[in-house]
């Protein structure tokens, strides 16, 4: 039995209708319109041209680089994000509030500034940067710098989607597991991780989407060297600058589609699992309504 969906009543008042129309119009104006315009432009010259734009060696290089950065950033920030959320929610230590507050810094400052910070700290002229470079491990204008930039701008995403769930479930389940004999690791991967999995998945999906689309920080840190440090978004930028917009359109469609599919796919899986675990079948002794799992 599916949980009953709230039905819109037929007797809608005029303010309600007006509000719905306003919301739809706003959505169309801001999101749907531009997306459709982009798709039309990209596919206007025909499928062959799209294919040709995609197989351009520079485009492929750029996409591969973006993929590399995205994979490393997503894996490291997911693992680190979970650890950080657990520490911030479960532990009490001096400076916790400061860390908690500063965690949103990557959201608060422009990515360009983030890139600038990295150049100052790790650039060829800095102490750390020049030292590392002399060991044959350059950071800025190379892949490590770009990964650092990606990690910087996506740092809060997993933490902020996991922490509220940890907060909400409290530590009772973990305490029960330890009374039942489970050690720290068993409790983590059998109890904590499954409980926060949707927060983790949602946070990770946001990290993927954000890394795919990151531009400002990468522009500063990468040096934008074609075929070497040019990511997909930098490629889009260059194509527009060099009056070859079709390559930019196609690349944009690819990036947007991947991000969109990840988010929608996640939502779909989440809904089907939630239906399995949270649907009320029979309520034997008429306890109150089931609490809806909070959406994160």
């Amino acid at each position: 039995m599916k949980p009953p969906k709230p039905q819109l009543q037929n007797t809608m008042t005029w303010p309600q209708r007006f509000l719905i129309i306003a919301v739809l119009a706003w959505f169309g104006l801001l999101i749907l319109g531009p997306a459709v315009a982009l798709a039309r432009r990209a596919f206007a010259p025909g499928v062959g041209a799209v294919f040709k734009a995609l197989t351009d060696p520079d485009a492929i290089e750029a996409l591969l680089l973006t993929a590399k950065i995205t994979v490393v950033v997503t894996i490291s920030n997911t693992i680190f994000g979970i650890a950080m959320a657990i520490v911030l929610v479960r532990q009490r230590f001096w400076g916790r509030r400061i860390v908690d507050g500063l965690l949103d810094l990557p959201f608060a400052v422009s990515p360009v500034i983030a890139g600038l910070m990295l150049i100052i700290l790790y650039g060829p002229k800095s102490t750390i940067g020049s030292r590392l470079e002399s060991f044959g491990f350059p950071i800025v204008y190379h892949l490590p710098g770009m990964i650092l930039a990606g990690m910087f701008v996506t740092l809060p995403l997993v933490v902020r989607s996991v922490a509220p769930i940890l907060e909400e479930i409290g530590s009772d389940q973990e305490d029960v597991a330890s009374t039942l004999g489970a050690d720290w690791w068993t409790t983590f991967h059998r109890i904590t991780l499954p409980t926060i999995r949707w927060g983790v998945a949602y946070g990770a999906a946001l990290v993927v989407a954000r890394s795919l689309g990151e531009f400002g920080a990468l522009l500063v840190v990468s040096g934008n060297i074609i075929g070497r440090t040019q990511t997909a978004t930098l490629y889009v930028h260059d194509q527009i600058e060099s009056f070859e917009p079709h390559g930019a359109y196609v690349m944009s469609i690819v990036l947007a589609t991947v991000s969109f599919c990840i988010l929608v796919g996640l939502e779909t899986i989440q809904n089907s699992v939630r239906r399995r675990e949270y649907a009320a079948e029979a309520k034997e002794d008429g306890q109150g309504p089931i609490r809806q799992m909070r959406r994160h």
Partner: protein, 356 residues
């Protein structure tokens, strides 16, 4: 003695949660830690389970020193107020969890899980997820999960606190029956004296992190050791010593109300330990006026006013009230059958109990 706690103390910042608490719980008993919120009862339970580290004191479980033992090795079953079921696991998986940790063979786990599901009457719900169960069912799953690895002691932290009244009553009776069958030494935290009385063999009354009194429920009720215990376990009238001394008691049989070495102190009388009569007979009694008579089914509540204005509540049967022909505004005599005097200048002094 299965659980021995000695001189346990725990402080959270400026708040003394447990203050030098000691008690011992005999094997096979079901014992309640009873106290108002903030009395430290949950903290004591969590300290015994190893979920909280005490500042000082020692804990012994089944004859074994356990103060520094990790929770995992204490052999404790723990039931939380809000069930703490593993949401992503079915009922069966929840119950099996502790057994899987012990790495028992699969068939043995299956057998034990079935046995427990039968015990808590949830066999038909084995493949449900926790959120598909009612509150009462969830708490039974939590209990089955705690009992599955055959714990040496069972701890229940306000286990029925999150349930509605009807389910709570049923589960109390059921828990008592379950305990009579399994005999696992159990410690039960509650703030509800009714619950403690119904379910437990012994009650440890706590207040401000200290033990006020330990004993079987009826004994605590009849012979409370302190004003706190008297007030916490049911309704009571508190009368000032001076009020009573100055009153016209029966001259030939005065009440023995002198407290040795003290002039202060209060007198505690339960509403059902007072008798009302229309005329002053042979027995000591105080004159009083009925301010308000409220019949409550088979009982009647009588609110009396003593001559100096002190209000006194009395409970008598409705039959008794009709027999006496009580009505509002009537002048009567009231006589205590049983009263307790506490010397407030010296709280450690034993309470005096008078049965008249």
């Amino acid at each position: 003695m299965d659980i021995v706690v000695r001189n346990l103390s725990k402080r959270f910042g400026n708040f003394q949660a447990i203050d030098n608490v000691s008690f011992a719980i005999p094997s096979g008993q079901l014992v309640a830690l009873l106290g108002p919120s903030g009395s430290g009862k949950s903290t004591i339970l969590r300290a015994i389970a190893g979920l909280e580290t005490p500042d000082s004191g020692s804990i012994e479980l089944v004859g074994e020193e356990a103060t520094n033992l990790p929770t995992q090795q204490r052999g404790i079953g723990f039931v939380f107020q809000h069930f703490a079921l593993f949401r992503h696991m079915t009922v069966r998986q929840n119950v099996a969890f502790g057994l899987e940790i012990q790495k028992l063979p699969k068939c043995e786990i299956q057998g034990r899980v079935e046995e427990l599901l039968k015990l808590v009457q949830l066999t038909n719900f084995a493949d449900r997820y926790p959120l598909q169960l009612s509150g009462g069912q969830r708490q039974r799953v939590a209990l089955a999960r705690a009992l599955a690895p055959k714990p040496r002691v069972l701890m229940l932290d306000e286990p029925f606190g999150a349930l509605d009244a009807k389910v709570r009553d049923e589960l109390r009776v059921w828990l008592r029956r379950l305990h009579d069958e399994s005999h696992v030494t159990s410690l039960f935290v509650t703030h509800d004296q009714q619950e403690a009385f119904e379910v437990c063999d012994q009650v440890v009354v706590l207040n401000h992190g200290k033990v006020e009194q330990i004993g079987p429920p009826q004994e605590l009720y009849e012979r409370p050791a302190s004003p706190f215990v008297t007030e916490f376990l049911g309704q009571v009238n508190i009368l000032r010593h001076e009020t009573i001394l100055g009153m016209n008691l029966h001259e030939s049989r005065p009440l023995p109300l002198q407290i040795p070495g003290s002039t202060g102190g209060s007198i505690y009388v339960r509403p059902h330990d007072l008798e009302i009569s229309r005329e002053q007979n042979d027995l000591p009694g105080w004159p009083a006026r009925i301010k308000r008579l409220t019949p409550l089914g088979w009982l009647a509540r009588v609110e009396l006013i003593l001559p100096d204005g002190t209000p006194v509540h009395v409970q008598i049967t409705q039959a008794n009230s009709l027999e006496l022909g009580l009505e509002n505004g009537l002048n009567v005599f009231v006589r205590p059958r049983d009263l307790k005097i506490f010397d407030e200048s010296n709280k450690a002094a034993a309470a005096m109990n008078y049965v008249i």
